[in-house]
């Protein structure tokens, strides 16, 4: 049992990162994420880590990727407009397989939108924002405790899969305060990237281990002379135009997630056993959904809740199972109706799917969700 603290979500992200071993942060100020940068500017120097405020968000993620290639666990944090700017280099990190954590504390969009209000409009962008269509991992915290735990998890997954990982928070979760009990250091599992066993002379930077399809990663400045590029490359890291080599890399970038898929399913569920109506919600809205569930149960409605914690890859199998047992699914979300598309695709007609959206940037209330439950039950 550890120390009990009363923290803001954004502080929990910053301190979770420190716990995970972050040693490099680069960022650019933007509401509602700035506290993460402010806290890390104070904390990182104390642990010999590096904090730098860059000239923009593009430079921030670029510096973080550079530092990760030089061996440090790295992160950046931002919100909507800055998240848009980072997309090209998120693609670079996918292609070059660089572990890096990107926190997006969502606010209202499009454009400058509503800087101080919550929204969930980056659900699709987090997965599809960079060109090319290749996967990455997206996590969604719903509480301060999860801000802490999932930041650690984000680093672990980034390091394991050599991939960018997005922690998709929101203004409510980022700014609310909750009491949490911190784990002891010894209770926290930390995963560090695989280092090469090959000598510098025999090292091929993109030769993957056959069992997990992930290449061990050397760091710049440690005796290994290797090349990294955003161009499609062969096992030596050198650019190639050979269709066979291009396909081999592209397939491996998909396969490594396929092989590790058991590590990429994380959700929480409540009262599904006898549920006839299931609410599927993430982030701050999942909190209202929980309230709605309790009220509905009191009134005798058989309602359950399914909350994806790893948003991408989307938890298809568990959701399919639920869909084949229930009458209806309700998807409340604070955006123009984004997750509902993914839910509909996965459900594939097994049950009814109802969308509930709210666009005034006020949080969806338990009452609203309850109304919908009554309507569809």
């Amino acid at each position: 049992m550890g120390r009990v603290v009363f923290w803001q979500g954004n502080r929990a992200v910053a301190m979770g990162a420190i716990m995970a071993g972050v040693k490099f942060y680069a960022g650019y100020p933007i509401t509602p994420s700035s506290e993460i940068a402010e806290i890390l500017s104070a904390e990182l120097p104390k642990v010999g880590g590096i904090f730098i405020q860059m000239e923009d968000e593009i430079g921030s993620i670029a510096a973080a990727i550079g530092a990760s290639l030089a061996g440090l666990k790295s992160m950046t944090a931002t919100s909507g407009p800055g998240f848009s700017l980072k997309q090209e280099n998120i693609g670079f990190a996918i292609m070059a397989e660089v572990p890096v954590v990107i926190v997006d504390v969502q606010r209202g969009g499009p454009s400058t939108g509503t800087p101080t209000k919550p929204f969930q409009g980056d659900f699709m962008q987090a997965r599809w924002g960079t060109h090319g269509g290749f996967p990455l991992v997206v996590l969604s915290p719903s509480s301060v405790k999860e801000c802490f735990e999932l930041t650690i998890e984000a680093f672990n997954l980034a390091e394991r899969f050599r991939t960018p990982v997005v922690l998709l928070s929101d203004e409510v979760v980022g700014h609310m305060r909750e009491r949490i009990e911190l784990p002891e250091d010894s209770e926290v599992k930390i995963y560090n990237r695989k280092r090469p066993k090959a000598s510098p002379l025999n090292y091929k930077p993109y030769e993957a281990d056959p069992e997990d399809d992930i290449p061990p990663m050397a760091a710049y400045g440690e005796g290994y002379c290797f090349h990294v590029t955003g161009l499609v490359h062969n096992e030596y890291g050198l650019p190639t135009n050979d269709p066979k080599e291009i396909e081999a890399l592209n397939l491996r970038l998909l396969r490594k997630f396929e092989k590790g898929k058991d590590l990429l399913v994380k959700f929480s569920s409540f009262e599904l056993e006898d549920a006839e109506v299931v609410i599927v919600a993430f982030g701050c809205v999942a909190r209202s959904a929980m309230g709605a569930l309790r009220e509905a149960r009191k009134l005798g409605y058989k309602v359950g809740l399914f909350r994806p914690v790893i948003l991408w890859p989307f938890p298809e199998e568990p959701l399919k199972k639920i869909a084949s047992k229930v009458k209806a699914i309700i998807v409340p979300e604070m955006n123009p109706g984004l997750m509902v598309r993914e839910v509909e695709r996965v459900v594939g007609g097994r049950c009814e799917v109802h969308s509930l959206i709210r666009l005034d940037t006020e949080i969806i209330t338990p009452e609203q969700i309850l109304e919908k439950v009554k309507e569809v039950a």
Partner: protein
């Protein structure tokens, strides 16, 4: 065959290179690795970072720590690397479009921070890789594939920009002035802080062809005949300097370097933590 000691900086397996016949970039590339060798560097301590463009393909051919990033972002990636591994000798190789258009923001801020990086720009006055579009350094009146009537914008003087942004070493050479180019690169590499060398390069394929400089030889002649040493340029009027390339050293000063400052900040932060 390259000399043995230069060859240790080459990934010979990747040759032949992609550059057109008559491209000036190869000359600058050669000067860069000769400078590494002359200074006694080992590939393991050298880090070369580039953006996107013909010039930015150079690191792929260099046997060292090398990184080919996104268009314009070489200095931002390099900033992360230098902070993470301060012992690395970090060099960025960029094109004029790469550094001065899309990467302009990173350029001025890397100079302002005075982080110990040597930034090299191969300025061929044009976007080579994408087919001869005008760049921020295209001379006023010159033609490009997006300036068929002549470029109406003003030409960016990157050395002036670097000086104003606070670079501690700033120099310009051309690929015709080989030994001067090599000596500027060497000085820049040895300088503690943000150093900048602009190398006027030749792109017969995309710039020459559209500007009455059909081949590599004509372009070299043009560099030779139009270059003016800084000492001489100081005595010339603006009209006389029209269309000339002023070569020489524009800044050479000492100033505390960024990673050193950061290191002191950490020491202070740790000390403060202990005294509490």
């Amino acid at each position: 065959m390259p000399r043995e000691n230069i060859a240790r900086f080459l990934r010979l397996g990747l040759f032949p290179h992609i550059f057109c016949a008559g491209c000036g970039h190869g000359i600058a590339f050669h000067a860069l690795i000769r400078a590494f060798d002359a200074l006694g560097y080992n590939p393991e301590e050298v880090m070369v970072v580039s953006g996107i463009g013909c010039s930015s393909r150079i690191p792929g051919y260099i046997n060292a720590n090398t990184l080919h990033t996104t268009h314009g972002r070489a200095l931002a990636f390099a900033t992360g690397i230098k902070l993470a591994k301060p012992h690395l000798r970090v060099v960025t190789v960029m094109g004029d479009g790469d550094c001065a258009a899309i990467g302009g923001n990173h350029f001025i801020h890397a100079a302002r921070r005075n982080i110990d990086i040597t930034a090299i720009v191969l300025n061929n006055y044009i976007y080579g890789m994408t087919g001869g579009q005008a760049s921020p350094t295209t001379p006023h009146g010159a033609r490009g594939s997006t300036a068929p009537y002549g470029f109406i914008e003003r030409q960016f003087d990157l050395c002036n920009l670097a000086v104003a942004a606070g670079a501690v070493y700033v120099a310009r050479a051309t690929v015709f002035h080989i030994s001067q180019m090599e000596s500027f690169i060497k000085k820049a590499l040895q300088k503690r802080g943000f150093s900048f060398v602009e190398i006027i390069s030749t792109c017969p394929t995309q710039f020459g062809r559209r500007n009455r400089l059909r081949g590599a030889v004509e372009m070299m002649e043009w560099l030779k005949n139009n270059s003016v040493p800084l000492s001489k340029a100081k005595e010339m009027s603006d009209e006389e300097l029209e269309g000339k390339i002023v070569i020489g050293e524009f800044a050479d000063k000492e100033m505390i370097e960024y990673t050193e400052l950061y290191h002191s900040l950490c020491k202070a932060a740790i000390g403060e933590g202990m005294s509490k």
